[in-house]
Amino acid sequence: MTCAELQQVLPEIVDRDWSDEQEKHLQTCSECAGVVSDLQLIAKESHSLQGSEEPSGRVWQLIQSELNQQQEELQSIAQQAPLLRESDEPSERVWNSIASVLNEYEADGEAIALAARQLQGSEEPSPRVWNSIEIALREEGLIRRPPRERSIVAAFPRWRWQTAWLLPVAVALIVGVSFRLHRDNAEPKHFAVNKPVVPLPDDFVPKGDLENADLDRQMLDEVASRAPGLRQRYENDLHNVNSYIQDAEQSLRANPNDEEAQQSLINAVEQRSMLYQLAADHSLP
């Protein structure tokens, strides 16, 4: 048996009895014997190690008690946290100190800004420096002089200036004519004394709105039923109103454009309307 053959089956036989051939090889091969002894030692130690690493009950109890203690501490912290917030409100002294610190920061910021402004001014190159820079850039060909701007006067040819005076004159004429036209339109037109006469159609004022004998009779009967003593009075006034309407209508037909005649007819109709209204008024008994 060779060393390779023995080492190949070594893990399987390390804890069992050896065969004669294997034993004979171990007696003759010190190297394999050393390996076997190491393996046997590892196996032996591993068994004892398993047993020794399992925590004992006491350890578990210690761990459990430790966990319980930490749990209690966390709970107490949670209970005390709200109180702790209130109690942690900074005192006025703390706020004052914070404010003073902020003020210091603000003052520092202002000082820095002031220094920056001064620094800007102090670092602004002088005009002599700018000129020298410009000369150098021109010599390099990086900048060129801008073309000269021509004035308006120079832009116009001579002949145009000889006739340019016509422009403001034309503008003045246009404005004047416009103003004159506007004023003429704004002036009130006088009414012509004689207006064309337009004949009125026959149904200019519907008859039903002016006279209606049946309606008049109904109204008088109604008044008589409620206040017999007033019937005659109403009848007289109705007669007055109807004759008023007739005269007004006649006048309007003769002079359709007469404003007074138009107003008279309106007044007459209004009176008739008032008569009917008072007849129907709840003030009657």
Binding site: Y244, D247, Q271
Partner: protein, 282 residues
């Protein structure tokens, strides 16, 4: 002796009748507290209504009922007050009569309806509406208000109405106006006469028109107005020396005239179909 006995008996009878009448009358009082601008409407078929202003934030109504055949219905909704004379069965012009005496805050709007009876309102600055068939209307010391009057043949008297918007319509009632001025004064009468005595105010429109009633307007020499006057079939007279004006109004001697006086501050139009028109200088 016999005559003395007769006189004594007569006096006793008169006394008895008066006592009977007095006993039949019933006096009722109503108080309505109001805030701000109130309005009151009174409908009274028979009897007078008198309204005047009084301090205090209330409307005070005194109603004297002439019999038990009439009762007063009253209601209040906020600042709106409604009073109606309710006639019962058997009521007539005498027994159904109620006399109203009303005191209101000065800016109260007043509406009065009646058939017969005197309608009086004074010292007010709220809108006034008066309607009555045969009512005798008297309005005085009114300012800054709309005044509307409608009657059939009851006479209408307006006095000392300043800055008023006045509209009067009457068929046959005479209309008399004294010191009435405002932005609008319009009188429409059929057969009633129209009398105006005032200075036509400033910047107002005055329109007096009638069918057959005469129109007479009296104004002082310092009055400032622009007048157009015409009567279709009646005579026209003018006491003023008017400045001519450019107008389409056709001037016709004896029938129509037009012109201005002083600065023509107010517009005056007098028109009648067949009544007489007279513009008099005071």
């Amino acid at each position: 002796m016999r005559s003395r006995q007769y006189e004594t008996k007569l006096a006793l009878v008169v006394l008895l009748i008066t006592a009977t009448v007095a006993m039949a009358e019933t006096r009722k009082e109503f108080r309505f507290p109001v805030s701000g601008k109130a309005s009151i409407s009174v409908t009274n078929v028979y009897g007078p209504i008198s309204v005047k202003s009084a301090p205090g934030g209330q409307v005070f109504v005194v109603a004297i009922l002439h019999s038990d055949k009439v009762e007063v219905d009253q209601s209040q909704s906020g600042d709106r007050i409604d009073i109606v004379s309710h006639l019962l069965a058997g009521a007539d012009m005498q027994s159904g009569q109620v006399e109203y005496d009303i005191q209101v805050p000065i800016e109260t709007a007043v509406t009065l309806h009646t058939t017969t009876g005197a309608l009086t309102a004074e010292k007010l600055q709220g809108d006034i509406t008066v309607e009555g068939a045969a009512a005798n209307v008297s309005l005085r010391d009114i300012a800054n208000a709309h005044v509307h009057v409608k009657t059939l043949d009851g006479p209408i008297t307006l006095a000392n109405i300043n800055n008023g918007h006045v509209e009067v319509t009457s068929i046959s009632g005479n209309v008399v106006m004294t010191s009435v001025n405002g932005p609008l004064v319009q009188v429409n009468s059929a057969s009633g006469q129209i009398r105006y005595d005032g200075d036509f105010g400033y910047a107002g429109v005055y329109m007096l028109s009638s069918h057959t009633g005469d129109i007479e307007a009296t104004a002082p020499s310092y009055a400032s107005f622009d007048v157009s006057a015409r009567s279709e079939k009646g005579k026209v007279e003018n006491d003023f020396t008017l400045e001519p004006k450019h107008t389409s109004f056709v001037v016709k001697a004896g029938s129509a005239f037009a012109g201005t006086m002083n600065k023509a501050a107010s517009s005056v139009k007098l028109f009648s179909m067949s009544g007489k028109i007279h513009l008099k200088k005071r």
